[in-house]
Amino acid sequence: MGIQRKVYVTRRVPEPGIQILKAAGCELTFWDSDEAISKDELIKGINGVDALFCMLTDCIDDEVLEAAGPNLKVVSTMSVGYEHIDLKACEKRNIRVCNTPNVSTDSVAELTVALLLLTSRRLLEGVQAVKDGEWGKWKPMWLCGMELAQKTVGILGLGRIGYGVARRLKPFGVQKILYHDVCKVAYADDVGACFAEFDTLLTECDVICICCNLTPQTKHKFNKAAFEKMKSHAILVNSGRGGVIQHDHLLEALTSGEIAAAGLDVTDPEPLPKDHPLVKQHNCIVLPHMGSNTWDSRNHMSETAADNILSIFDGKTAVGLVQ
């Protein structure tokens, strides 16, 4: 009898990862749907498996891990974020946790810049005006936004994505790029980005991009006090995690003119319902978490999640080992 390789996959995912697991002789069971799995179904499906291939929509907590039983060796998420996984509960049971870093970086950095431009140039209002028949003959002062040239851009979290955003913004003629992070990083020099305290980021920047993950340190970092310090013409862009922004305070800041506009690819909760005040707010652009929405990214993420599982099975170091 060989090594047990039972894998439960919590969604229909791109083929490349599935092929990798099958070729290595894994026994696969699926939640065979495009929709997120419910907790009840997850508890049923995870029972007795050796590996879990999951999504960021799955809450992998104590109850779920308990239901898995003693064979579970690895939780492999098809995402970079892992705040949906209880790391302590996994550590307790000696279960490895893996994610899919790097392979979606370019997609997310690109989407972040797209969202920034969408917001600074008021393109949602433009698209809506066309659809609603409100596009009249060209007017010199209709729907004017902000040009990026000569502006100061701030990046919260100069990791892979933050760095990718900074690189892409340089030829737009931004005058200064500031960043705040848990520490200074040497590669910031390559894009001419200067470290700044969080308060400095708030008071100096015309545009701020949130490119950090969600941790106890970053949760609700953008709250009422933060918005009060920002410039009234400032734009906030979030492609990290929704929980970094206190959404009620954001709504207040947008309606009162404390900041000019916000572009959100991630929200809390996700997605926002269509009658949510932020969705209806004219100076708030909400996207349905499209950060890595390319076939390239998703195929690679699927492969990486599968490779991570095989690495753990084979006692090798996984590319995306979190712990």
Binding site: E35, R121, M141, C144, F172, I285
Partner: protein, 312 residues
């Protein structure tokens, strides 16, 4: 000595008007809406300078109405397709435009439109507004990265160059351009190729040329058949460069993948136009230079052009 008389055909950023008022007698149509034709022909009589926008037809009728005192037509735009330039030349009337000051905004907008189209962002926005977006799904609404793609630019002027510069760090593997001459500033940025090669090779193709006899209706069914089926077409120059009926067919029949248009023919495009119904056609209401920075600079530049011409 009487001050020169200038007619301003629209409400524009005040910085330009202030410059004019310093040395000229200024008559302003102080409205956000286009000056009615009859009013234009009446108030244009005897002026020395006109400060106009792209929605004012400065044709033979208008020039005749103005009379022999007209020395300069200053348009708050780069395009001059609304002005009878050859007729102005005949009458020794100088036509002044606002290149350079608007190039950054226009290039920036083109990149924004390019990304919205390749990443299917308009569909994402619509899904949220309609309450049709669910929790994250691995294979929903997938678009394409620019990384590794070939970018083609038709017309490598200030805007085309600005687009190429901005797209480099997005990881495009090749930037090609077609133009009527070699651009030395393309060195290290883009390679010049014939039109057919641009069509054949481009994954993303941006139209950045002026509309002229040569370019009017150039992008037609023959051209779309030469492009890749996976190609994305972006137009931020002038609507008339594209044959819109043929574009509709090409998008419907998957001869090309998607289009992003900031300019159309006519403008505005009526809500019933077939292009409006296509999911793979993104339409913006001619926002090319829609920044306060650009519009102020365009207003100032137009005023300076006029003052330089009329005031010794």
């Amino acid at each position: 000595m009487a001050k020169p008389k200038v007619l301003v055909t629209r409400r524009v950023p005040s910085e330009g008007i202030d410059i004019l008022k310093d040395s000229c007698d200024v008559d302003i149509w102080d409205s956000d809406d286009v000056m009615p034709r009859a009013t234009l022909l009446e108030r244009i009589k005897g002026v020395n300078g006109i400060f106009c926008t792209i929605k004012d037809e400065i044709d033979v009728e208008a020039l005749d109405a103005a009379g022999p005192n007209l020395k300069i037509v200053g348009t708050m735009s780069v395009g001059t397709d609304h002005i009878k330039v050859t007729e102005c030349e005949k009458r020794q009337i100088y036509v002044a435009t606002t290149p350079d000051v608007a190039s950054d905004s226009a290039a920036e907008l083109t990149v924004a439109l390019l990304l919205i189209t390749t990443r299917r962002i308009a569909e994402g926005l619509a899904a949220i507004k309609a309450g049709e977006a669910g929790p994250w799904k691995p294979m929903w609404l997938l678009g394409n990265n620019s990384m590794g793609k070939t970018l083609g630019i038709f017309g490598f002027g200030r805007v085309g160059f600005g687009i190429a510069r901005r797209m480099k760090p997005f990881g495009v593997s090749k930037i090609l351009y077609t133009d009527i001459f070699d651009c030395n500033y393309a060195e290290g940025v883009a390679t010049r190729v014939p039109f057919d090669e641009l069509l054949k090779e481009s994954d993303i193709l941006c139209i950045c040329c002026a509309v002229t006899q040569q370019t009017k209706g150039l992008f037609d069914e023959k051209v779309f058949k030469k492009m890749k089926k996976s190609a994305v077409l972006i137009n931020t120059s002038r609507g008339a460069v594209i044959n819109q009926k043929h574009l509709y067919d090409a998008l419907k029949n998957n001869d090309i993948k998607a289009a992003g248009l900031d300019v159309t023919d006519p403008e505005p495009l009526p809500v019933e136009d077939p292009l409006m119904k296509l999911n793979n056609c993104v339409i913006l209401p001619h926002l090319g230079t829609n920044t306060w920075e650009a519009r102020r600079a365009m207003s100032i530049n137009t005023a300076k052009n006029i003052v330089a011409s009329l005031v010794q």
